[in-house]
């Protein structure tokens, strides 16, 4: 039954995409109403700070780590047995 639900959703991937972007928009809007009295550091009061942090952080992490892997650390799985 779960599988059927998932298949159903997968067939409507356009719809899923719109729901997702709607969610992102909702999150940004929600940020305006969030309570910010307990600021720990400079980034806290900025609207959407964590959004950018998340996106940029994610992208940078992927590029950096994958890059490091491709350039240097990547080996065959039986590297030590040779």
């Amino acid at each position: 039954m779960i599988a059927q639900v998932i298949t159903y959703l997968r067939e409507r991937s356009e719809m899923m995409k719109w729901i997702f972007f709607a969610y992102l928009g909702f999150a940004l809007v929600f940020d305006f109403f969030a309570d910010r009295h307990d600021a720990h550091f400079w980034g806290d009061p900025i609207i959407g700070f964590w959004a950018i942090f998340g996106l940029v952080g994610c992208l940078l992490m992927i590029v950096f780590c994958k890059g490091l892997s491709h350039v240097w650390l990547e080996r065959d799985t039986d590297y030590y047995d040779k």
């Binding site: 039954m1 779960i2 599988a3 998932i6 298949t7 997968r10 997702f20 969610y23 992102l24 909702f26 999150a27 940004l28 929600f30 940020d31 109403f33 969030a34 309570d35 910010r36 307990d38 720990h40 550091f41 806290d44 959407g48 700070f49 964590w50 959004a51 950018i52 942090f53 998340g54 996106l55 952080g57 994610c58 992208l59 992490m61 992927i62 950096f64 780590c65 994958k66 490091l68 892997s69 240097w72 650390l73 990547e74 080996r75 065959d76 799985t77 590297y79 030590y80």
Partner: protein, 588 residues
Amino acid sequence: MTSSIFMHPATLFIVGALLLPLFRKFNAQKIWLVVVPLLAFIQIRYLPESFGTVEWLGFELQFGRVDQLTMVFLHVFTLMALIGSIFGLHVKDSGQHAAAWLYVAGSLGTTLAGDYLTVFIFWELMAVASVFLIWYRKRTKSIQAGYRYLLVHTFGGLILLGGIFLRYQNVHDLSFDLIAPDSATLADYMIMIGFMLNAAVPPIHAWLPDAYPEATVTGAVFMCAFTTKTAVYVLARGFAGYEALAIMGAIMTLYGVGYAVVENDARRILAYHIVSQVGYMVCGIGIGTQMAVNGAAAHAYAHILYKALLFMGVGSVLEMTGRSKLSELGGLYKYMPISLIFTVIGGIAISGFPLTSGFISKSMIIAAAGADHQIFIMLMLSLAAVGTFLSVGIKLPYFIWFGPNDPGIKPKEAYWNMHVGMFIAAFMCIFLGIYPEYLYDMLPYAVNYHPYNSYHLTETFHLLGFTGLGFYIMVKYLKPHDVSNLDVDWFYRKGALAFMWLARKPVNAANEWVSNVYQTVGLRFTMAAARALSWFDWEGIDWALDGSAKGVVKAGGQSRLFQTGKLQHYIGAAAGLVFVVLIVVVLV
């Protein structure tokens, strides 16, 4: 006093492990597997504050010391033992269960220990028992991985032992309590390093991603929980507030998650991720404030549950398909949907979605960092949270259950007991998310943290949502390939090969040369001496050595080997020499 040993939960597991084959014979193993951890889970509530003091080798060992910090760990350890045993009900081999329970016993024993010697004894038990959980997989790679694991842990144990000895020499006291950072000596740092090895702090962490993917399906579920979290407990007990730990913990979170993002084997991803999450705990301990230590304990509790859940999910895939590499999996949602749901619950919990245990625990540490004005650390931990969601929350389930691949495998759904185990863990993840007070009441210090405030919610929504966006953009770049990455274990793995070459070639050659010196020097000298003295007292020896000389003659009679003849002379000469000495002494 010995009677109080029986109330020790570790005894329960040790005796339980020894009795397993008996229960198996009567087809009651499954019942026993559930009863024992359940008993332990109940038993821990009735433990007195201090028990099991024993005198040994002139030291006073304290097997039982209980306070709030101990209790929260005991609680989750026994719960985890129950979950793990249920997950493994389908395994018929008693040996695997026995190993797991001895491992649990080691962990409980360490947690309850009041002095360093007891800590060490149970520390070794953990290492020796857990290596079997790797060896039982019986593949050549697993056996080698287990051997490396054992050597690394023996090495760590020896550093710990060295530190304990030196500390004893300094303070003449073995009791296990907080060591103030200013008074820490080399001995204490050695102990800390021994603890850190088990906590998988880089650079002595490489054993974890090396060994955990090679363990048995059920064994890995146990292993992910106990070794590292016991190490977290002992660090919390002895080394809270050490700034070095805060920094190393923060680095750890990023180090682990970085590898997790690029690895291919599902269990190796999870193993590296353990390094990352334990980093949060180590960091919290290092910050040392009450909120931070609370956070570390809370996170340990929550992490055991959701990491085990993830290992169970991925483990069930391995069990049913025989594969764990993302590059070989995909499209399993049609065949193993229940496992999918549970794994996803684990994934969102670990990422810290609202209404899950991650939301109420991990963020406590981040908030503690902020409250302590350690901004850089706070940002590092938050970045690691991004990576966590990316690697374990999205990438892992995506490529296993969905993914662009279609390897064409059609596995059956996992066994019922695996689902029960996963269910219990998933239930707890959500339960704690909805009702955090259950966990907060167990924590060592009073809790002033309120996770459900609008700021925290918005922060989480943003972080997770936009990380998801990032994945969506980069999904093609993240396609898994059948590769693995080098880590610091390169040094000792290559180093060991070099060492063995040295041992085999030069050292053995030298040994052989020394061995043959006797022929040139020794034999010639003794033969010369024998010839010189053989005339001296040939008759005199008969009365003393007749029996043996005749025996030797009889034995050697058949052969015509050169040595035998000489040996006759020689034994005679030997005795003769004795008399020479006597005569010399008399004359002198």
